[in-house]
Amino acid sequence: MDVRLINPFINATINVLETMAFVTVNAGKPYLKKDNVAVGDVSGVLGLTGVANGTISVTFEESCILTIVSNMFGETMNSLNSEIADAVGELTNMISGQARRELEESGKQFKAAIPSVITGKDHSIIHYTEGPKIAIPFNTDHGDFTIEVCFER
């Protein structure tokens, strides 16, 4: 996988969450993920096609996404419900859009599908293409989240 595909997703994640939810986000060290078990409680997954085919996912711990969505709505959210799932889908959508704009600047065109959302402890994330799954952990003052980027070899 072309590692130059990774950075736009990291940049987009930081920008989207800082702009829409006013949270400070710190990226950790990327690692190769071996299994399909999500590192958190709710995930947005989105397929991409273009110069390479792949998927991205964004998985949040409950405390983290409740704070993020509370900030986005200006009111306190207390539990993982359909409103949180909808917000995770839209956040995934925005991260994809922003990353695709940065990728376009380096001549890489992608189209995105409409995101799907999965919730539950230890849920699985199935990437549609066979390739290395690069996970990037992030931390905030209110919990952690992880993005995964998987493009065909």
């Binding site: 829409m20 709505f73 409103e83 909808d86 839209e90 959508n93 859009g97 409409i114």
Partner: protein, 124 residues
């Protein structure tokens, strides 16, 4: 800005409709209606007087671009200002929207100030 106008917010994500409603209410707009895709938005347009459309691009059934083209092709709705608020901001998207007659364009993620600035330009 005339804050008594009726604004139609179109987005398939309830989250985005809620964020936009919060921003518009903070700006003083009270007359807000919603639709979750272009088809539903068209039904709203046919049933009541709308002064401004704020629409997402990527939606099921009828996209924001398809809605924009339909609005601009309609004798009764073609003069309604149309603000596209979307994550789809690759060059070709912007060109297509401008050619279709979009009034202005806001890229997600956005700040409340970005929405306010675009509305002031459209409604001045």
């Amino acid at each position: 800005m005339d804050t008594s106008i009726k604004i139609l917010i179109v987005d398939d994500f309830a989250t985005m409709r809620r964020i936009l409603k919060n921003i518009l209410k903070q700006l003083g707009f009270k007359n807000l209606v919603e639709a979750d895709d272009g088809t539903t938005a068209w039904d709203v347009l046919e049933g009541q007087t709308i002064d401004l459309i704020i629409s997402d691009w990527n939606m099921p059934k009828m996209t924001g671009l398809e809605l924009l083209k339909k609005v601009r092709a309609s004798d009764s709705h073609k003069r309604i200002p149309f603000l596209m608020v979307t994550a789809e901001a690759q060059k070709q998207n912007v060109i297509e929207a401008v050619q279709a007659g979009v009034s202005n364009y806001v890229v997600k993620p956005f700040t409340a100030e970005a929405i306010s600035d675009k509305l002031e330009k459209i409604l001045k």
